[in-house]
Every structure is written in C-alpha cells, then in structure tokens.
Symmetry: C2
C-alpha cells in the first residue's frame, strides 16, 4: 500500500522534536507539506496558511496539527471539511464543545479523527493496564510534581486563562489514569492554587472517586526543584502496590521492577494513527480534558504567592 | 397500558411546586413512593433513604431525582443499577464525568435515562426552533439578568465552589440556545465576576462562536432589580430579528408577536419521560453543562464587591 501523504501544521519545538522524526522514521507516511506562520520544513512544500496548503495540494491525505490548542480548532475544522484525516496533539481542543463539533464533522465526512494522548503510549502503560485489569483496587494516588522553571520556562500563554497552568503536564497523568484504571472516576473536590499575578493554577489537589467509592487523589505541583521531579501513579491492589513511575516508563509491583524502558511515545502514536486511517476508524476520547473541565467547574480557588519566571 | 409506577427522591420546593403536580396530573404515572431526608409525601410509602426504598418496593419502575446535583450521582447510580428508569433534574450532575458514567450504566442495564432541561419545554421554544431552522443567522445575544435576592434568597450552597452561581439560572439559557440554534457553538472567551466573599460567579460575560464564525454573546447578571429581570435570546436573521423572551414563553419577529403562552414546562417534561420509557429509549444531552464547564476552564476571573443576602 502507498504511504499516507501527510502535512504538518505548526512547526514549533514539539513538531521538530517529536512529530517530524516520528513521521520520517515511519515508512507508512510521506511528508509532503508544512504550514506554519513562523517555521518551515526542508525538502517539502511550505505554506504560511493551512487553507492555501489544502487548496494548492489536493493530494494531501492527512494533516497533523501541532500548534497550541487555542488556535487549533479552525485548522482542524478546515482540514476535516476538506476531507482530510486529522491527528490532534493533546489536549484535543481549548474546549470540550469544539471537540464535539470536530467529532461530528469527521463522521459526516467519513474521515479519521485521532485525539492523541502521547503519555498513554509510554512503554510501561500497557503493562500497568494489563496488571490492573483483574485486580481489586483500594486506592489510587497520583503525584505529578515538577519544576516549572525547568520544563516550561517563559511560556507566558500557559499562565493565561485557558492555558491550563499545572494541568498542561497534569492532563498527561489523567490521560494515563483514564486508560489504566478498570473503572471510571469523577471529581468530588478540588483546590486550585493560583499565583496572585497569574490566571492559571501553579498547583492543584484533586479528589476523585469511582461509583463504588474507591478514592483517587491527585497532587499536581509545579513549585518543585528539578531534583524532586516526580510523575508517579501509585495503585493499592489486592496483589500489592503497583507504581507506574517516570511518567509511564517504569512499572513495579511491591518494589519488583516489571518494566523500565526507553520511551517511544510519538513513534507509537503515529503507528496508531496509521492503523486508524487504514481501518477507516476514528479515536476520539475527551475523558482527560473532561476531568480538567470538571475540576475547573467544581474547584475552589486559593490565591498564592506571585510567580515570576 | 398500565401507568408507570414512579418514586420521587428529594422532596423539597421544586418537587412540591413542579414534579409532584405534574405526576399527579398525568394518568401515565402512579406515584408509589418518596424518599427524602427531610420531606415526605402524603398517601404513598415514605423512606429516608433511596436504597431502603428500592429494596422494599421492587414494583417501582421509575425514579425522579429532585435533589441538588452535588448529591444526585449516588442516588442515580443506585436506581439505574437496580434497573429503574431515571429522570434527572437539571443540571444532570455536578460533573460531566459522572453523567458519562450514568449514561454507560443506563445502556448496560437497558433502562431509560432522561437528562431533563425544563426550559427547553417553554411554549415558545419549539416555534423559535422551527423559525430558525431555515434562516441565515448573523448574530445571537443572550441576556439573562435577574435579581438574585428575589429568585435565590439565602441559598448558600449556590455560592459555593461547584454551586455554579449565576449559571444556576444561566444554564437554562444555554439549554434553550443549544436546542434552537441550527448550528453548534463553542466558547472563545469569558469573564467570571466573583464576589470577594464567595466562590461562585454573580455575573458572567461570554463569547461563543460557530464553526463559521457567527458570534453568540451571553450577558448573565444577578445584580438587577426585579423590575429589570430579563430572560431573552435575540437572534438576527435574514428574515428579521427574532426575540425569544420571558425565558422561552414569548416569541416575536421584528416586533410581531408569534407566541405568548402560559408555561407548562414540567407537565411536558413528564410527558416526554413517559414517551421515552415506553419507547425504550434514553435522552442524554450534556451540551448545556459542557458549555458551563468550558466557560469555567477558559474563563478569566475578576473579583468584585462582596455579596450579602
């Protein structure tokens, strides 16, 4: 079968670091174009505007959207409306309502829409899911602590209303949680800590529960030293304590290591998108973003010390 | 066909004012029980706990849940799990995630789940929807202003985190908007005005847009005198200016009145629930609550003057 002719929109750091190498290294794709206001890609057609690109190159079959969520809807709508398969970086939109509009359009146009959640493709995530599938779970604790100055230096947009703040990485934890737990949960209480000079939270404590009352807590905090970075999900089960650590790369049960591998998230994401396109199917999952929206709707707010980069 | 044996859970003001009369006046129902921590209903079996009621009276076919959303999930889950049809007051949950759990359970149990939005059953709402169906819309303005001291006196819970504040009535406007507009919209910007001594907004300004860029604004404000109460949706179309006024009771186009009737929202809601149960179908629509969650996730916050009842 011929490779899928794909174009990338939004040529920034994440596109260069992850998307482009994953596409180049997958023989199922042929990169044919890029559209970006600032960046460009060597060796393919470059455009500054997605509409111009879609008009000029009808041979494009799929489009991968790598720009920030606040400006992604318009491009996604145009690409789907033109009959292209669409790969969305996480989160799939700035709002849940716009993702619902895209989902309906993809069905109408009979094309693939893929809401990608890269953290679900960490090497220890599937082993964790398989381990939990037949266990009795008594509690879950998510600890997602990092040094914002190291991981998000001078990203002013992330601190604006809608920028999600600590949930920009925190949504990765929720994308793993919703994938590995055998039961759904919902937020019952949350506290958002918002620096007095910013609009988005620097930290959050969240209580979830399952329908049967199993507690799930999440502690997300950006005010750590790099040496204290932790991205762990700890699950107490009838077969021991499972720790999915290092953001989904490492799995241990009662201290015995079961998986500790190099992460290959984006190559696996592009393999998945390829399978979906060839199978004529979509994968639209808003559960992680829905939890974030629920947290903002339900959460109480606490003003904390100003944050300066 | 025999009437549906129904029980009411949560016997407070809304149950007495609306639910119970609508059930009594509909020959398709027989009220057989009530469960409530504080209230009771004459002439039927009364319980303080829904689980006791479901165990004691297996003949109950349907349950109507009239308590506040923060405590509704548990009752809804138990009722569905026991194979009962469930009628949910608006909003259908405190979070979107819990409604998704209930929806999945209703499918699994093959029973009817009805997320009721009473304002959609205002007498001029269907005429408005029919008018707009084939018109070209250029803009929409929602004005939902009321005197909180008159309509929500001393309701402390409404001012708490998750109590929704001005969106408690405002969600009615969004339930009508999502029903009458022929195209979906999504939030692009919002400002929430939160009194310095409260956790929920007293006012909000919201900008929505459709995929093609049609603007929809909403001005929700609780700081009005009763004489200035307004619940209007104004739609500019190629066939004139449509005003759906008085919360969905009155319809005019270019000043010519087309409908102005007594509201019969709850009787119509119960007729709809009856039809759904008999047809073996559910109606689960989270669009109005999804907009509220999007508004909280995307909105910027402004602290305003303290509010005292």
């Amino acid at each position: 079968m011929n490779p899928i002719s794909i174009a990338v929109v939004g040529v920034g750091k994440i596109a260069r670091d992850q998307h482009l190498p994953s596409i180049y290294n997958n023989s199922g794709y042929r990169l044919v174009a890029a559209a970006s206001r600032h960046g460009s890609v060597d060796g393919v057609e470059n455009f500054t505007d997605i509409e111009d690109m879609l008009t000029a190159m009808p041979e494009i079959e799929a489009v991968s959207l790598c720009m920030p969520p606040r400006v992604r809807f318009d491009a996604a709508y145009k690409a789907l409306d033109a009959g292209k398969h669409v790969f969305l970086e996480k989160p799939p939109g700035a709002t849940l309502s716009e993702v619902a509009i895209l989902e309906a359009l993809a069905i109408e146009k009979n094309v693939t829409l893929f809401t990608s959640w890269h953290s679900r493709f960490g090497p220890a995530v599937e082993p964790a899911r398989a381990f939990l599938a037949d266990k009795t779970i008594s509690r879950v604790d998510i600890i997602w602590n990092e040094d914002v100055r190291r991981w998000h230096p001078n990203q002013d947009w992330i601190w604006e209303a809608g920028g999600l703040g600590v949930f920009d990485p925190g949504i990765n934890a929720l994308s793993i949680m919703t994938h590995i737990l055998p039961m759904p949960v919902f937020v019952t209480r949350s506290t958002l800590e918002i620096p007095e000079n910013r609009d988005a939270p620097i930290a959050a404590q969240i209580d979830f529960q399952s329908a049967s009352g199993i507690p799930v807590t999440a502690d997300m905090d950006w005010r750590r030293q790099s040496s204290d970075d932790r991205w762990d999900i700890i699950v107490e089960t009838d077969a021991g304590t499972m720790i999915l650590g290092n953001g989904g790369a490492r799995l241990s049960v009662d201290g015995v290591m079961r998986a500790d591998e190099q992460e290959t998230e984006y190559p696996t994401l592009y393999a998945r998108f390829h399978d979906l396109v060839r199978a004529g199917r979509s994968e639209v999952d808003v559960a992680p973003l829905r939890h974030i929206a629920d947290i903002f709707m339900l959460g109480s707010r606490k003003t904390v010390e100003a944050f300066y980069d």
